[in-house]
């Protein structure tokens, strides 16, 4: 028995060491760093400063807005396309999914670069549109708010699509037929049955998309450098920047950013649990006797969670 334990410890020790050294200690140091004075002692001064500084508040606001906008657009486009994709024959569907999966690898610096080539100041399309006299894009500037949203949406759409499409298979064709037989129009079906079924998946996906956009650094950094006031960019320049290093301030901002993404991921966690419960109850619903109990349990659990 003793030998057994030593053997286990030996297997776990390197793992524990790596996690402690490179994951937990840095997070702890960041937390303590954000609330300690430079001479020693405890202070909330950095947070106070952030919430009274128009500059940092603007960075937070910009990041939140860009995350909300790009997630919302990405979600809506992803939702419609996910539904569309489930209407195809499996072979074509798999091809389409593979393509979307492929493009979801295309993010960060290469993505920003591709957009610069196409729509930047001397971009191919920018010049082309100028030549053709199209002025729809005359007011468009890739290196500004609208450009950032455009590029963010690009990497949000395939992600939303890939996360959402499985949940459409939870909606049975029989239900649509039943609803249609009872006289429901398609929009009525979606409003009363379809969308409520998808709600957990939608909010869960929204959480992931939001966290993804909040934490995105490479794309924005490659596109606008330090010229656009975003939280992630601000943190980067405060800690490893070229101007003045203010690591404590950077830590405080990083803690705020981490809080927002943790919250979003937590939302996803709760929601995926709930949608698992949904699907689990429907799977067990195939055998009638167990199905009723399962559904009841699921319903109770959902209710309990809603009350909590």
């Amino acid at each position: 028995m003793k030998h057994n334990k030593r053997w286990m410890l030996l297997g776990l020790a390197p793992f524990v060491f790596m996690v402690l050294a490179f994951q937990l200690t840095p997070i702890l140091t960041m937390l303590t760093g954000s609330v300690s004075k430079s001479g020693g002692g405890f202070t909330f001064g950095y947070y106070d400063k952030i919430f009274h500084s128009a500059f940092y508040l603007q960075a937070i606001k910009n990041s939140l807005l860009i995350a909300v906008y790009s997630s919302a657009i990405g979600l809506i486009v992803g939702l419609v396309c996910a539904y569309s994709i489930t209407r195809f024959a499996p072979r074509i569907r798999d091809r389409l999914l593979m393509l979307s999966n492929m493009t979801s690898n295309f993010a960060g610096v290469p993505l920003a670069f591709a957009y610069i080539i196409l729509l930047g100041n001397n971009g191919v399309f920018t010049l082309l549109f100028k030549q053709w006299g199209w002025d729809v894009f005359a007011g468009f500037n890739l290196y500004s708010w609208s450009g950032l949203v455009l590029v963010y949406v690009y990497f949000q759409v395939p992600l939303a699509l890939l996360l959402l499409y499985p949940s459409f298979y939870g909606i049975r064709d029989q239900w649509r037929e039943a609803a249609a037989l009872l006289g429901a129009r398609p929009w009525q079906f979606w409003r009363t049955v379809g969308l409520p079924m998808l709600t957990p998946a939608i909010f869960g996906t929204l959480g992931i998309l939001f966290a993804n956009a909040m934490g995105a650094y490479a794309t924005a950094y490659a596109l606008v450098g330090g010229n656009y006031n975003l939280l992630a960019i601000r943190i980067g320049s405060l800690v490893a920047g070229d101007v003045v290093n203010q690591p404590e301030m950077g830590s405080a901002l990083a803690v705020l950013l981490a809080l927002s993404t943790l919250l979003a991921v937590y939302l996803n966690h709760r929601m995926s649990k709930r949608s698992e419960r949904f699907t689990a109850s429907y799977v067990s619903g195939s055998s009638e006797k167990r199905g009723r109990g399962g559904r009841k349990r699921a319903w109770l659990a959902a209710k309990e969670e809603a009350g909590a």
């Binding site: 790596m18 840095p26 569309s84 610096v109 064709d173 490479a218 990083a254």
Partner: protein
């Protein structure tokens, strides 16, 4: 009935989506091979000049090698550390799994910038000053791929029902080490291979941590690409295309492997 044939709305919608998703890729690709491309829809003339120039560029080859090397070392280290740990936890200490789930979800939830801040604060001063060295980067990479490695190894272990296999092996008289090496490892290898390749491709595309932790000292392919973006568009395109093709090959291999592995496990 409806499923077999998609209507025109769905077809055109998917076509639009694919055009939207592929245009940046195709644009970069063409730009990398274009000699003259202004004010026309397609390039006026083509050339291999940029690709050739890229392969003559020593800094590019250096960066490529550095990326390969760092990713390989990190993934190998992760394998060496994670295989025994996940094995012990899954087979002997299932109670720890809740805790493990928390540890493993953290790299997802904590963005790269935040992780970089913590790492810089911990290791840029004091007794262990390793900022700017490969050590800190390998450590950071270890955390980045932690979720993929953990999930991959754990799922493989559960798929082959490792505890039962181990019991049978021990009942037949194999020592624990021998059972692990000759029974468990060969069985989980395909699944582990998949998460290894996935981790590799994730690390290959890593920019935030690399740039913030060691950007000035070590150039990976991403950092190099970032520096080249502002110099020559065509050359940077060629680099981006090469990078993307590499990732594409890697993910195709991944998918083939995944299908094969899942097919066999399903049988």
């Amino acid at each position: 009935m409806m499923k077999s044939k998609a209507g025109w709305t769905h077809r055109s919608l998917m076509l639009l989506l694919m055009i939207y998703l592929l245009i940046p890729l195709i644009g970069t690709f063409m730009y990398g091979f274009a000699k003259q491309w202004q004010t026309t829809v397609l390039p006026e003339s083509w050339t291999l000049e940029w690709v050739l120039e890229m392969f003559k560029d020593l800094r590019f080859l250096d960066a490529l090698w550095t990326s390969f090397y760092l990713c390989a070392v990190s993934v190998a280290l992760s394998l060496a550390v994670m295989l025994p740990a996940v094995f012990v936890i899954t087979v002997y200490l299932p109670k720890w799994e809740t805790f493990m789930k928390g540890v493993v979800v953290l790299p997802y939830a904590v963005p790269g910038v935040v992780a970089a801040v913590g790492l810089i604060r911990t290791y840029s001063s004091g007794p262990i000053d390793i900022t700017g060295t490969a050590y800190i980067l390998v450590g950071a990479y270890f955390v980045v791929i932690l979720p993929y490695m953990y999930q991959g190894i754990r799922n493989s272990l559960l798929t082959v029902s490792a505890p039962e296999l181990l019991n049978s092996a021990e009942m037949l008289g194999a020592s624990r080490m021998r059972a692990f090496a000759t029974v468990i490892l060969p069985n989980i290898w395909p699944g582990v291979m998949i998460s290894t390749l996935l981790s590799f491709s994730v690390l290959f595309g890593e920019f935030v941590l690399t740039n913030m932790l060691v950007g000035g000292h070590i150039q990976t392919i991403q950092v190099y690409l970032y520096q080249r973006v502002n110099e020559s568009g065509h050359l940077a395109s060629a680099i981006a295309v090469t990078y993307f093709l590499f990732i594409l090959v890697l993910s195709t291999v991944l998918m083939k492997l995944g299908k094969k592995f899942n097919g066999e496990a399903g049988r």
